[in-house]
Subunit: 221 residues, 8 copies
């Protein structure tokens, strides 16, 4: 592979998936809940594909915040779950930071529900601790759209890099010319369902080109 | 062709394109101006294709209302222009009604800028005069979105049928299996540009199916 | 079961799923494509659960309109596919009407992409032919939001009943106290993903009530 | 407690609640008035809980701007009110700055109606005077949404930190594992009413787990 | 009081508050949850003020739908709760209809979560059973905005009268010149919080008129 | 003038401007307040131009509802103000109905703040009393957009005709070819400010055509 | 007056009002045209009040761009108009820069239609030439909302200060306690029409406090 | 021409049009597809007019991404197409960078579909490689509006200059007083269709000024 050209280096990356919990999801108002769920799952799948370490955590999952959505660990079976003891900023929980340090990597890909709290706080702490932080804003989910607009400004000011789910997947993928190409295509089509329709139409058009049309349009010009 | 099954009968139709003028277009706020322009043109083309009589008129085109957009008569060269002498409701202008009566047809397809005036007034008058009236709301253009919502309720209450540009074109087309099929496809793709992209992608996919891929993805699975 | 109280009678119902095709989906602008796909699938599953006859059809699926999405027949394996020979209004295709007549049922549940064409036209024809027609507007998909607003007014004026995916599923379900209750719950949770989160939170809260909390919050009051 | 990890230090904080007046509230267009009111109250309660000094002020409250909403001092009885003599920027009023200096603290949490004036001006002045300033944008209220978008850019450029009500409450709370935990939960549920519903559902689910279901669904599977 | 002039007759009214449950509230997307809650409470208070019979019911409140929000019975202590045994349409539950019949009244004021199901179904059944039905759409709450637009069209078509919370309160109030005048004012101010600000500003302006200004603006002209 | 062709007859019209009060304006959320004010003024001016009787009234203008905006009587000096004694529906106030009856006219043009109360209630009462009622929805102003959508459906169902400010002015004007032509143009330009810009551009273009260009563009082709 | 506390110094300010032309106004899509017009006028009035030098210019006003709106020079009669000879960026026109230099002031308040061109280009040039530049984004007007979002980011990046009309007027006003106080109040009420309503309600409430109520509510408690 | 005054220097510019492909266009959700298409074409035409080198490339155009839209090379016949071998970031493709280097220019004008990937990645790489980069955000097209908001923040943070299609065309044009003036006017009118209407109205107004009015308004004053 070529040098990164200023892009994220997948080999230096750790993915932090913070507080993607069913209860908190029901408070999300800046994007549709199924989209948020889909994007968090896409992150988990991308990390699995590239063997990027994943660390998960949850905020008081035995209360109204609800359980971690099961798909995260289902699609990233190598993910390490680090329980917290009440801290809101996951970075305030020493075992969480230790889990990151153990990977020896210095580039963090962070998503967390709620965006302005669970994503933003660890990102700001990480920047201060010398890490590079990519914040996946639309795989996070926030309690209001205005809060998200504010958070983008805040994390950019703090030096964290704001990004979106499709972009981070593409930035990690780097090229279509790789063995995982078709599996990446599937992830991108899940993130962006218009893309799934395109694939279906494309396959059909090719099949028709080979086997001829079905519909009889004898008067059509 | 089969009986109409409750649908519009193209052979009984007259198209009224009222006050599609450049100045009035600059007051339109319920849909983007280029869309309005595109939809009005699509009506003109559809009428030409099916030889449906078209009657145009303009409201004081020598004042700030501006000239009729040139494309209407360009794409419907058979259209008859009926000047007015100041009437706001085109139906108040006897030569306009006479031009309709001369066609012997009783089903009107009406679009007019502004929707709540130039489209709605003649439609209400026509209903009272015993005509059937299809109002093409999005080929009309209104000064506010709320005014359009109100107008849909008003004309439906009065017995006129509200419809949209894509639907009226499809209702007139009836079937893909006709000599004008490909020319209808072109009109639909102009109304709905996503459709144009689909056609381009479709053609490319078929070409690839026949001639093989261009991109070398030797590591892709 | 009690009398219908003015509600839809599932035993008299036929479901018509018209032109849910990948290409057409890419022209849909009145609701997110994945929602449309989800709602169409939910209709198929609901029909299967209640053994309601399903009739599908597609408009020139060998062209840019693209193939029928595979999930419809996957989740409604008993569905009958009726090919068309170019007709835009499925009701203009005699075998389509015959397939309906063969069921002996007189209440139609109709969804079709595009809403203002593929759903609205057959609904209007069906009303004229003496059927009762429920139009599932958000399981249809339209090329513009304004076109959908217009279509709701048009079909209501024509005597068809406008409804939404959640409502039609609930209207068919009638009661939670039935053997299929839990399978209906799953369909409703797929239509409305907030509901899925609620179920997950509910199960977790009950589990905690039985097994005790996980998080140690010794200073919390 | 752990070090701040780049987060706000509650022990160094002063809260400035500026011009939350009934008349000015009626000019707010960037968020619903009851939300603004709720968020300003939440700030007052949070400050009371943590004994953070609160300074209030009002702009010509005997004119059309109207009185300070009574809830601020009701829920933050320790707040100090500093009258102004006409200055628009509260920082131009020496007694206001003196009240801040008297606390000996250097981190300001600022909310003010209107956002682009009463919040932004003192924040910019404070930054220049060497303070750290957190601007709670959605507890402020502005006369237009565009003005708020502009203000976020302006204050970020000036070095103030934009934040939202939920985030600032969470940043001050730091951890659930504290004696005030349940009182914080109540504040968060007031800021974000979805959260209140979650708590109610959670309690009900636990009660059911203990006492059994109410509804008789004998045919349900 | 004067004759009703075509308006609702409070003495013939029964209020049906159906399925206002915490879990279902978390699925509401057509209006903010706290608004919905506020409007449902306002209905309860209005009924109490006028001694209008209130009947409540809940759909499987021991499952994920969650408990009835406590405020309904708190503010309408005379309300009668009728449990259901799984029916989705409350009208399918004989004790519910019997409770209505027992009042001897024929005008129903209906609100229910979800709007397109729990409000719309009983309204349609009631119309068929010969009742007059007022549907309070914004005190109901629906899973999507499009579903609400559809439902307004459906119930209007069925003969039910669509209305909003402020309008129904005002229609029941009839006149400010009644002993309950000030208590109605309080309810209206809770429905519409701008109104609360107006009251506060009004009182302050009157106080200033009596006691003189506070702010010293000696240079002001 | 020609017969009305189903349009409003200005000679049979009375205009009712109900409760356009400063306080109530501050509760309006379905359109910008200055637009509402502008539209109410445009109605007053149109009535003055055509000598249409105008009846105004206000709801408790000595309380928080505030005073009638002064422009109504300023621009319609012939308007008759009918005080109320607390009635919410102006039709419940006998002197108000008597004032209408005294004109001997049977077509009402109604605008009132709030739309769903002050406009809708008298309209429904008037229809029942045998009048024809045009409701000018956007010259009314409502407390929520959803309430306005609901109200349009309600009044249409009741038989009142929903319309907008521009449409009613144009419907009353009938033709440009009348002595008041230029004064109508001025009113329309105030309703729709894009129109004012068009007039200015038009005048400038004509001036340039006569006197030659100002800007020296010697290299321009 | 106190030192500026980081705020704009009115005594060092020049106001540049660039290309506020009727034709260009008709291309504005990021805010309503009457608002734009109102805000530009408010800037002119504010400059007159404080005797801030104003420089205007227009882009090819003898072509479709249309004439400068007349109100600018009407309300800022001291404004100097500098014709251009085709330059798009007014800073490329030497007489324009010379006019600024002649004032000896170094702080520019800039508004221009279109925002992303006529406001942004001179601002960027001015920053490079060593000036301080305040960009009044909502007194400018742009051809799309997205273009405005982009422009805010661009000018902030370049070092110009983004602000809004209400904020700049308030920043220039500094205090209510000045001889021009009531004239500023009038300008602010024109910018923000809710404020005008508040003033009217306030005056009425005070009058009532002095002279007693008008409405007879003898049964009201 | 004058010095650039901090503006883009057309003589140092290269235009990069990346991945404007029919399939990808069908995934665009942040602006209407026909607008995107129009803006990309406008860039191609502008580059042709000024003889700015254009480099195009496409991402796997033989798959579902679809073909490059034909208009780019049609309107910029001098454009050089550089095929890729799977790289997502065009900068990772050495021949692409070499093509840029060969021009000897250091200022890049970049548009690419999707914005957050195909536009943003090469821009970030270019900045790191020492280039100046102008990102034309609305000639790019993105899969979600939120992703575009995030991308504007990201590229601004990285030092690239965000701009829009109209602004970049105007910045390259510099002055109306140039031989290409009228051809630029045509491009601007295609970008902003309101401008086309203005031109038509302007021409008509001038014609009327010369030849007299058409409409007979003998009673008009």
């Amino acid at each position: 592979m070529p040098a990164t050209n200023g892009m994220l280096d997948a080999d230096d990356a750790v993915m932090l998936l913070i507080d993607h919990q069913s209860g908190l999801f029901n408070t999300v108002r800046d994007l549709p809940i199924p989209d948020l769920r889909k994007y968090a799952i896409a992150l988990a799948k991308t990390a699995s594909l590239l063997k990027i370490p994943v660390i998960t955590t949850a905020s008081v999952p035995d209360g109204p915040n609800g359980p971690l959505i099961p798909e995260i660990h289902q699609y990233a079976p190598h993910a390490v779950y680090v329980p917290r003891t009440g801290q809101i900023n996951a970075w305030d929980n020493p075992p969480f930071v230790e889990a990151i340090e153990k990977t020896g990597r210095k580039t963090l890909i962070i998503a967390g529900t709620l965006t302005s709290v669970c994503m933003a706080f660890p990102a700001i702490s990480a920047i201060q601790a010398g890490y590079k932080a990519y914040c996946v804003v639309d795989a996070s989910g926030n309690w209001s759209k205005m809060a998200t607009d504010i958070t983008i400004a805040r994390i950019a000011q703090a030096g964290a890099i704001p990004t979106d789910t499709f972009a981070i997947a593409a930035e990690l993928m780097r090229t279509w010319n790789r063995p995982e190409g078709s599996r990446f295509a599937k992830i991108l089509a899940e993130i962006c369902p218009e893309y799934q329709c395109l694939i279906e139409s494309y396959d059909k058009a090719q099949a028709i080109a080979k086997s001829g049309p079905e519909t009889k349009l004898d008067k059509y010009q």
